[in-house]
Symmetry: C2
Subunit: 527 residues, 2 copies
């Protein structure tokens, strides 16, 4: 009897006909049942080359499973090159006991309200990094990247399926996702070494506890991968789902800078719908933009994904869509002559704090020049920057808390402003500030009515945080509940220090701050 492990990929692999040219036409279904857990899941298998057939399943509950695999090869399957007439169906059955998860294995991450949570109930706070062309580098460099990741604080990484042709990215990978037919990429002919290798990277990331935010399409292309027809793209996605959806650490990122590509919105909705309907596990799914934010109200889309440097009002997107928010790109720590890749380490850390205080999550990247032009953001290698340690510091602070953060920093939306204005602007005797404020348009007033908005958050009544960004105030203030007893610390987000300054306080507290940038304060309830 086989063994399964909860939250770990389970694979059936057997030999059969060599299907060259017809690989993606293969019809393999499997049903996995665990009646004691009310599990009855149907998955699709795939052809893995060299006459190998594979079915993968991710068990999310322990117990006794049985399965039945059906391979339908009715009639002729044909493409332009080949016709194979294979008759009949193959069935296989089996069973396995799925043991409870290893400690350290928490299962698939999904959206729960406006945050992320693992299948076993553990909260998941993504601290992402970016290595777009991770899998397209030589083994030695990939190995070095893994070593770097092992010592880094990132639990999510954005990587691309397709290779990248862009600034600092001019190397062809060894393998591409497909073979060519008549000089053109043939999505019906996956390149099996490519997929084996990609999977090995995904699996290893999973072992390291790192989520793989897999970018399915992108425009940085000189080979033709950005020019697949919708039909070709869906064939590709079908193969991707069959091969990869049983990896627990997969997130689907439809694209990087989707709006730069030639697909229409209908195409993107077709892609997200396809994944939604065919990925039985419901992996996280979103889309990254250059200019036009993706449609986060899309039912298949599980979280908000932004590329932005405008971080002050992200909480409103969370309120609006009621989904978790990832700022998956907010410029990179680095020194390249590109605006998107030369912010300071402090600035990136500043941005992480601003995003996290609003209840969102952020992604890092770095772009430092070196002799080999191996920039982390695309190729990996080693980390030259100073932000990772500080990102780890922030992560450790958040992971100490009982749960995720809720933004409490205030401010006024347009709707709120218009509502108050409608009531107040007719008032008699308004003077000075009041008279001015309710006479303004939203465009005129919006910054000012939000001038007291703060980067402040709470975790229930257990903890209160406030981050002062680049404000160098020497006086901090928290409005704690009147009940309870709190310890208050001053946090230097860059120096990575935590200094307790008050003990056993509640209500409104004021405290001295160092009068420098990058200071946060945190109150934690005692006992």
């Amino acid at each position: 009897m086989s063994t399964m492990r909860q939250y770990e990929l389970f694979e059936l692999r057997w030999n059969g006909l060599d299907l060259e040219g017809l690989e993606t036409s293969v019809k393999i279904h499997a049903v996995f049942s665990c009646p004691e857990q009310q599990v009855h899941k149907e998955v699709k298998g795939f052809y893995a080359g060299n006459g190998e057939y594979v079915v993968r399943f991710l068990p999310e509950k322990p117990g006794r499973y049985t399965w039945k695999v059906t391979e339908e090869v009715a009639g002729c399957a044909a493409n332009e090159r080949n016709t194979a007439c294979l008759d009949g169906a193959v069935e296989m059955v089996g069973e396995a006991v799925c043991e409870a998860a290893d400690s350290g294995r928490h299962g698939l991450v999904r959206a729960e309200g406006t945050h992320f949570r693992c299948a076993d109930g553990t909260w998941f706070y993504p601290f992402g990094t970016t290595v777009y062309a991770f899998s397209h580098q030589e083994d030695a460099l990939v190995e070095q990247t893994f070593e770097t990741l092992a010592a880094a604080p990132f639990n999510k990484i954005r990587i691309c399926v397709f290779p990248k042709h862009y600034d600092y990215n001019h190397n062809d990978p060894e393998y591409f996702a497909f073979e060519k037919t008549d000089g053109k990429w043939d999505v019906c002919r996956p390149c099996y070494p490519f997929w084996d290798r990609l999977e090995s990277h995904i699996a290893r990331l999973d072992e390291m506890g790192i989520q793989c935010d897999l970018i399915l399409f992108h425009p940085y292309d000189c080979w033709g991968f950005s020019k697949l027809t919708r039909k070709e793209a869906l064939t590709y996605l079908d193969y991707v789902v069959r091969r990869l959806s049983a990896y627990p650490n997969i997130w689907w990122s439809l694209a990087n800078e989707y709006d730069l590509m030639d697909y229409q919105m209908e195409d993107w909705y077709a892609f997200s719908r396809f994944l939604h309907e065919n990925d039985i596990y419901g992996h996280l799914l979103s889309n990254h933009q250059m200019v036009i934010p993706w449609d986060f109200s899309d039912e298949a889309t599980t979280h908000i994904c932004h590329q932005t440097s405008e971080l002050d009002y992200l909480s409103r997107d969370i309120d609006r869509f009621q989904k978790p928010l990832m700022v998956d790109e907010c410029r990179y720590e680095g020194n390249i002559p590109r605006r998107w890749g030369n912010i300071s380490g402090f600035e990136l850390v500043n941005r992480f704090w601003i995003v996290c205080m609003q209840g969102g999550y952020c992604t890092h990247g770095e772009t430092f020049l070196n002799e080999t032009e191996t920039l982390w953001w695309s190729k990996g290698g080693t980390l030259a920057g100073e932000s990772p340690a500080r990102i780890g510091f922030l992560r450790s602070i958040l992971e100490e808390l009982p749960g995720p953060l809720t933004f409490i920093g205030g401010g006024m939306t347009r709707e709120e402003f218009e509502r108050v204005k409608a009531i107040r602007s007719g008032e008699e005797g308004l003077e000075g500030f009041e008279r001015l404020m309710w006479s303004l348009s939203w465009e005129q007033a919006k910054d000012f009515v939000n001038s007291r908005r703060e980067m402040a958050a709470c975790c229930g009544t257990d903890a209160y945080l406030k981050y002062y960004c680049r404000n160098c105030t020497s006086i901090g203030k928290l409005e704690l509940p009147e009940e309870g007893s709190y310890d208050v610390e001053v946090i230097d987000v860059w120096e990575m220090t935590r200094t307790k300054v008050l003990s056993g306080v509640n209500g409104t507290v004021e405290l001295r701050l160092p009068g420098k940038e990058g200071i946060a304060i945190m109150a934690v309830k005692k006992g």
Copy 2:
């Protein structure tokens, strides 16, 4: 025979009737003529208390002057309190030789195109500071402020006529601008010690080469000065012009945060028009806002004055109004718990550079807490911050150049965008970036089409500067003319270092930069 000095205030003072209650009704006119210089100017005199009458004149050209003073006291002058019947007129004549200006005296600053220039042709680059309640402090503190200014790099200071009631400002001054009648401020009864003292400050600033940007109205008021009727306000302004317009270093700032006051726009236009018509010298004039920028197209308004932290597109205001631009408030270096008063020294210096590269000019202030709550921005004293030295460094760099800066950093306005879009969006075969860009609205596209806009400036072909703000690029690039021979230096705006890295170059040059924030590069033509 009296002596005048070019660009220095000349005063006639004589004794006469004590006019208590009718002071501002006095009609004194003087005509100053210097035929060899085609000068024929009419000024109004004023009553200075204690039976003293004064006429002031600022000669702007050397030569032989004659004057005639006429004091008309026809009929009865009356107010609610008093009626004085004084008949007849008094005339006085005189002459003086006006000697050429002392070296170091450059005359009144006026707008020339989009920059500032002294009467003698010297360019004037304002580097302002802010001490709003300067004149309302005790003598010892005022003295300390003068000492601080003597060692500081500021050549302009914003001060208020009226005292300030605000955060950290709760002290009554010794003198107020007017006396009270029946418990109410009486603008017809100036308080002469107040004006004598204020003038002594203005005169001393002038000796130090510091422009006095005099704020005529402001809303931070608990005494009633912000509640003058328009008529009262004009009486006040009339006295101000008579007393102060002959000081060469005066700038008129109609208000601080004018939009917070209860005056209507018609009132503000009446004030600016009054000054325009009655100030024969044409001192610089503008107005400072909280939210709604003043109307810089107003004919009487000589330059743009902004309170803003949005500095990226100031060059467009200069283009639009074709007037010089002062950012007279962009937050203060400090540590108070107020967003407007706790930016870092580096951030303020960063803002100065951003403004100056666009051909504008900037004003400093600092707000550090101390035991006596003597904050520079309101009361003066000493400077605790680190930005002044760096501001002085910037000033020294600009003053070495042959003339003021012209912005050449590029970018695209809304009009330009719409124009290009109208042409290009119908094009066949647009792909990727091009297809996206011309399909967007201005709101969507505006940041992106300006993503290559730089803080770059030139001084003719004599000098080229580029400031990298918080971009930590390790490669800098200048596009110099193909002709000529330039030396290029790397400037660290915070460390205040200048390092020549290239000599005798032209055309497109690339150079290594330190990969940190606050770096500028400057190319200067040799010979």
